[in-house]
């Protein structure tokens, strides 16, 4: 008659077959349940199902698949933790938590959208959890997957209004018993900011999914804007130079270099061959530029000729002087952010604002124009924006 003895290493396992208790001191088990084992005797274990700690009883040992554990002693108590990856454990508990909430969402027919959303989140997490447990991922992919998983968990917790999970740099949950209060507070603050940012990203991803542009924007760090100058309609009567660049009105600075087009006095570009090929690509636009509130395409027109237009052309006057003539301004924030489709054929007419007096600074005029929206009287330049290109930054090794 062997007595019941406390188990040392056999502490935690999963049930692999349903067991129905036949005696009062036996414990019924369902397949998939996780159990804590306390004692063993003659091929039977005694313990409890983790979901229901109160009810303890005996069950056959061969109905259990044992799992490895780490046993820590904290004072008088023993804390049993499974050897599984902490992230996998987190996913498991999160999924179960969301599971109960998901069923509540089902009961309220007004929450149908949320219900399907959470369902999809849960499926994704389950698939990723399987991948993590399969142990077949190379280390790079593994890290990426961990990132994706923590991001998904945070997003789900946020939309279900559950507690924020605070993580450290590696994505592991911070242990409140091991970190100081102040560092915990700071971590909380950073975590909330990061999560709100990710939520915005996810939401914009979801909203603009159909255009596919947002996905491109997220994936590549540099962008380019291709501008095709079709024509410049302006009665100057002299040669002029057009400087085109991208401009940020809030900061009042150019964010790109100038593209120079020399225009002759007859209304055609100085270099006739360039007539139908005045194209420029503004490259190296980063995400910072894309996120600016407003971006304008400005064209500064400089007249090259005599000092004062009012004077009649006369050999006496010096020529070759460069005088400000006017500006043309167009708001391209929508095009840059991908909200409007870029069409090869679509041509934009940019209205033109002349300088009032000859001693005006183009810069001041620019500020005036960008802050107001006036009519120009039919003079201006015509452009089209055939394409917005993005470049893949990932190295092809």
């Amino acid at each position: 008659m062997a007595p019941w003895t406390k188990t040392s290493s056999e502490r935690y396992g999963v049930v692999k077959w349903n067991f129905i208790a036949k005696a009062e001191k036996q414990l019924s088990l369902a397949v998939g349940d996780t159990v804590h084992i306390q004692e063993s005797c003659e091929g039977w274990y005694k313990g409890y199902v983790i979901k229901n700690k109160e009810r303890k009883g005996a069950f056959p040992a061969n109905f259990i698949v044992l799992k490895e554990v780490i046993i820590e002693k904290r004072g008088d108590e023993e804390v049993i933790t499974s050897v599984e990856m902490p992230l996998v454990k987190e996913v498991t508990t999160t999924l179960r938590e969301w599971g109960t909430i998901w069923k509540q969402l089902y009961l309220q027919s007004s929450k149908k959208v949320r219900f399907t959303q959470v369902q999809r989140l849960m499926w994704d997490l389950m698939e990723w959890r399987s991948q993590l447990l399969s142990g077949t991922l190379p280390s790079d992919e593994f890290k990426e997957l961990k990132q994706k998983v923590t991001s998904k968990i945070d997003y789900g917790n946020k939309i279900l209004e559950l507690d924020v999970v605070v993580r450290d740099a590696d994505g592991n949950i911070l242990d409140p018993e091991r970190a100081s209060v102040i560092s915990l507070f700071r971590a909380h603050r950073d975590a909330t900011a990061k999560i709100t940012e990710r939520i915005k990203e996810e939401q914009s991803n979801v909203q603009m999914d159909h255009s596919g542009v947002s996905a491109r924007i997220q994936s590549s760090p540099t962008h380019s804007l291709y501008v095709f100058v079709r024509n410049f309609v302006c009665r100057i009567g002299e040669d002029s130079e057009l400087f085109m660049s991208l401009y940020d009105p809030n900061k009042q600075t150019n964010i790109s270099e100038n593209y120079l087009v020399r225009w002759g006095d007859k209304g055609l570009p100085k270099d006739i061959e360039m007539l139908n090929s005045l194209k420029v690509v503004f490259t190296d636009l980063g995400n910072k530029d894309l996120n600016r509130e407003k971006i304008y395409l400005i064209c500064q027109i400089v007249r090259v000729g005599r000092m004062d237009l009012k004077d009649t052309p006369n050999k006496k006057w010096t020529t070759g002087l460069r005088r400000p003539f006017g500006v043309a301004v167009m708001d391209i924030s929508d095009i840059i952010k991908g909200k409007t489709e870029c069409d090869e054929e679509k041509q934009y007419f940019i209205p033109f604002h002349p300088v009032i007096a000859e001693n005006d600074f183009l810069h001041a005029l620019l500020n005036k124009v960008t802050s107001s929206r006036g009519d120009s009287g039919g003079q201006g330049t015509t452009h089209s924006f055939p394409a917005q290109m993005t470049s893949q930054q990932r190295s092809l090794r």
């Binding site: 004692e39 056959p60 959890r129």
Partner: protein
């Protein structure tokens, strides 16, 4: 670190060196390309040629059972090995290129070596199973089995594995099905308590008439009444003038059996209307006729009314809801059984222990 020592372990022994030599002599371009690609990478993602060649040779020997006695029972016939004089070495060349490509696709580092070898083994096994007639065909097949393809195949196998047919799973399903059905019933009744708007039949060109029906919150009375226009938001119980006590309800009829569908008027024989029609028969001998606005509402209402009558919920929507809820519930319960195979037969229950005196009596 004597390189000669690398080849002392058999298998594969010097066979690996023979293969490498063949590659270097007869497929010089390939060899040079592989070596150069991997020799100057700074980021630890280089594929170690020597080690890979030895491991690959060992794997191929294992797969093709090289070095073992002929197995009379095995009927695998690979025509491609008869298409070339040095078929074995050519096979090695194809596979080493595959390994290099897969290594790059997996972005593997030195510690992922075994994982890459597992994937390559799977690729070769699957390709061989297709019995390509020539080495060129083999190359084509291997190219289609890229790493992402293998991942996809693994994922779909995982998904299909979830349709467990093992007995304990089926038992568990049956055990939790009533809970889930109860949940569905609850949802239907909640929806009935919110109420729905229905259209009156007939009135060909005249103004559309609406009426609204709603279950009381204690599930005991069905309130209904006419409305002038389609409601926006909640309709208060006070606006609904008529009511039927649930205890008076006798049966729910659908489709052709409905009294309002039995009338001969041409309009009412419309097939769509027939599919959305249902009626409540209540004491003493009256019927309340409905035509649901869409299939979803039809299912909800027929289910809800069946629930009130104590009958089973039988609509298509119930079936699909049950499926969704059950599969999620089962998946959640079986999360901890990942990578564990359930036995085919129940383990034998051991003899009861001689005593139930546990060491600590928790009462």
């Amino acid at each position: 670190m004597n390189p000669a020592m690398d080849f002392t372990q058999t298998p594969p022994g010097m066979l690996a060196l023979d293969n490498m030599l063949y590659l270097a002599k007869l497929h010089q371009d390939t060899y040079i390309r592989i070596v150069l690609e991997n020799s100057s990478r700074e980021d630890k993602h280089e594929c170690p040629f020597g080690r890979c060649a030895i491991e690959l040779t060992r794997m191929l020997c294992d797969l093709l059972q090289v070095g073992e006695l002929p197995n009379e029972g095995c009927n695998d016939f690979h025509p491609m090995f008869f298409t070339h004089e040095r078929a074995w070495e050519e096979f090695f060349c194809v596979c080493i290129q595959l390994l290099n490509k897969t290594w790059k696709e997996m972005r593997a580092t030195a510690e992922d070596f075994n994982k890459v070898m597992t994937v390559v083994r799977e690729q070769i096994t699957r390709a061989l199973a297709m019995k390509p007639p020539s080495l060129e065909q083999l190359r084509v097949k291997l190219r289609s089995l890229s790493y992402s393809e293998i991942l996809r195949l693994r994922q779909s196998e995982r998904m299909s594995q979830d349709d467990f047919q093992s007995p304990p799973i089926i038992e568990l399903r049956e055990r939790i099905q009533p809970e889930i059905l109860e949940l569905i019933k609850q949802q239907r009744l909640n929806r009935l308590c919110e109420g729905s708007c229905f259209r009156k039949l007939g009135n060909r060109r005249r103004q559309e008439k609406f009426w609204f029906c709603r279950l009381s919150l204690n599930h005991k009375v069905l309130h209904y009444g006419d409305l002038d226009e389609s409601p926006q938001g909640e309709v208060a119980f006070e606006l609904l003038t008529d009511k039927i006590p649930v205890s008076d309800m006798k049966a729910v009829l659908t489709g052709k059996d409905c009294p309002h569908m039995k009338e001969k008027s041409a309009l009412k024989q419309n097939k769509e209307v027939l599919e959305l029609a249902f009626s409540i028969l209540y004491d003493p001998d009256e019927a309340l006729n409905f035509v649901a606005p869409n299939k979803y509402e039809y299912c909800i209402w027929t289910d809800g009314l069946s629930a009130l009558l104590g009958k089973e919920l039988g609509s298509d929507l119930t079936r699909s809801d049950l499926d969704t809820l059950m599969s999620m519930e089962m998946k959640l319960r079986l999360l901890d059984l990942e990578n564990i195979t359930i036995p085919e037969a129940p383990p034998p229950v051991p003899k009861e222990p001689s005593t139930y005196n546990f060491t600590y009596n928790y009462g």
